[in-house]
Symmetry: C2
Subunit: 323 residues, 2 copies
């Protein structure tokens, strides 16, 4: 059963707090390729529900990367049979991980900050003005318990800081900072989390960044920066999946670059292309040329061909869209 | 005339606001090798004083790097003859730039957050619990004018965000976030400033980072990471002084590294050594072995010899201190 945004019931934070307090036995879902916001929001909600005396688990997401695993361990379950299913930071059911397939059409409450939320759940708590879904969860935890424990604060701080690139990205608002202050006051070890997530790099990460910086090809008057990341480069750096997180952001930082392209060779020899742009060029439109999609400033496409052919194709797509 | 901390008069923010409102014609000093905190604090104070109807300038600091110059231009003076001299973020008179020599022993008010402030000024407003001197200036501007204009907010946001590495460093507190929220509410373009200061790298910067990452030498079971930065590397990257800001931080991010050493070749062939450590090793003690100094986790020393000899000397000093 698929619902549209018209069919879901939109709820306020206070209404959701009441709804939760009247129920029990919750399972919380996170999205495919989970980031700190979906994981921190889910675990933070789980922690807040347990403080309210409820039984709650997060469905174990097998794609969780090394950096988040230890934070999540106390909340994971693979086989809990819930009475109510909640999702955090998931815009559509297409983003459910494989082991959450059985919950399609069965989500009781979706808590999200994506304006594109499809309304797949029976009830929805949506605030698209929030930089991170974790901001919504902070307010909900306050409505539910009147306070936030140090453990819940830690998990929600992870949600905030990761979705804003440590308060660096354009989505960061005064409210984000206000909630960060409240979470630190409540006991979130902000400095420790930021050191771990933003100031520590594995050797594999350092080496793959170095490989990439050495292999940037500039075109169109240095406004396009393209990097092809081959298996050989990844192997030489000894980089794993965790090390490759958000590598598409690296060369987009260079002054004057409008379009940054990353073409990554997958293990089967096919290519994963990421396109990052500033407001001048629509990244989603570029990737749509080749059957992919995404947002205006960050999009992607998977191509069955090898990386060098993929590079030519995506550069041609940029030329087509960027007149 | 040199004052000690006993001789200066410690003032509260409200007292300083009253003191300022009763006076006029202010010149504000910044420190040697100026960073965003000394510059943003000085310009923010200057802007707040002008809003209060006062005549105020910042003494032009010729070492100001490219990234800050445009923000400072409206406030610079090289020859204003003040009635009162104020310093921001300066711990001792040794840190005065050359063109401020004439004001030694003549500073009426020092506004600072360094616990080591020597008490060189007649009056001192000190709060060492603040991550950035800019936090003190925010409270002072509120005490002075009851509000903060968008222009003042912008300059103070620069102070906050640069001294905390965009809210990433361990000095960031709940108060830092609360003041950041207040500054954004007052009109500081937080996203724009962070994009410019933290998400844009010149090609020279990207290339020198790449050169450095390619030339890390690991020792003592990969706990020491050393990089020698030669003139040849700097020239090949086309990097200028602005591009070299804080390069000592780059390899200290690597997981497991306890001591990171940067040995940079200066134009005259001598060497500038920077040592960054975590709590296990005292960087100041390491550099003191060779006649330098600094803090427990960040210190430096200038050596007359070439870089390769300097590298051997500093590694020997590490061995001596780190048993």
């Amino acid at each position: 059963m698929d619902r549209t945004i018209d069919k879901t019931r939109m709820m306020s934070s206070a209404e959701v707090a009441k709804w939760l307090s009247e129920r029990d036995n919750f399972l919380i879902l996170t999205h495919l390729r989970p980031d700190g916001d979906t994981l921190g929001s889910a675990a933070g909600l789980c922690s807040a529900l347990r403080e309210a005396g409820k039984t709650a688990y997060v469905l174990r997401n097998k794609q969780t990367t090394r950096r988040y695993e230890a934070y999540m361990t106390p909340y994971w379950s693979e086989d809990f049979r819930p009475d109510f299913v909640i999702s955090t930071d998931i815009a559509t059911e297409n983003l459910f991980p494989a082991n959450a397939e059985m919950f399609k059409g069965r989500v009781d409450l979706s808590i999200d900050h994506h304006p594109s939320n499809s309304g797949f759940a029976e009830n929805t708590l949506l605030d698209s003005s929030c930089a991170a879904c974790g901001e919504i969860l902070y307010r909900l935890a306050m409505d539910l318990n009147g306070r936030v424990s140090p453990e819940t604060a830690k998990l929600l701080f992870i949600a905030l800081t990761t979705d804003t690139g440590c308060f660096r990205y354009g989505n960061t608002t005064a409210d984000t900072h206000r909630i960060a202050a409240a979470l630190i006051d409540a006991g979130a070890p902000g400095a420790e989390i930021n050191k771990k997530l933003f100031r520590t790099k594995s050797r594999g990460r350092v080496l793959i960044e170095s490989e990439m910086l050495n292999n940037i090809e500039f075109s169109r008057n240095s406004q396009i920066a393209t990097v092809v990341v081959t298996r050989e480069m990844i192997d030489r750096a000894g980089a794993d999946e965790d090390d490759l997180e958000d590598i598409a952001a690296i060369h987009g930082q260079i002054e004057g670059v409008v379009v940054s392209i990353t073409v990554r060779e997958l293990e089967d020899g096919s290519s994963k292309v990421s396109v990052r742009t500033n407001k001048l060029v629509d990244a989603g439109a570029v990737c749509a040329e080749l059957g992919g999609g995404g947002h205006a400033m960050a999009a992607g496409v998977s191509l069955g061909c090898g990386v060098w052919e993929a590079k030519e194709k995506i550069l041609a797509a940029v030329d087509k869209v960027w007149k």
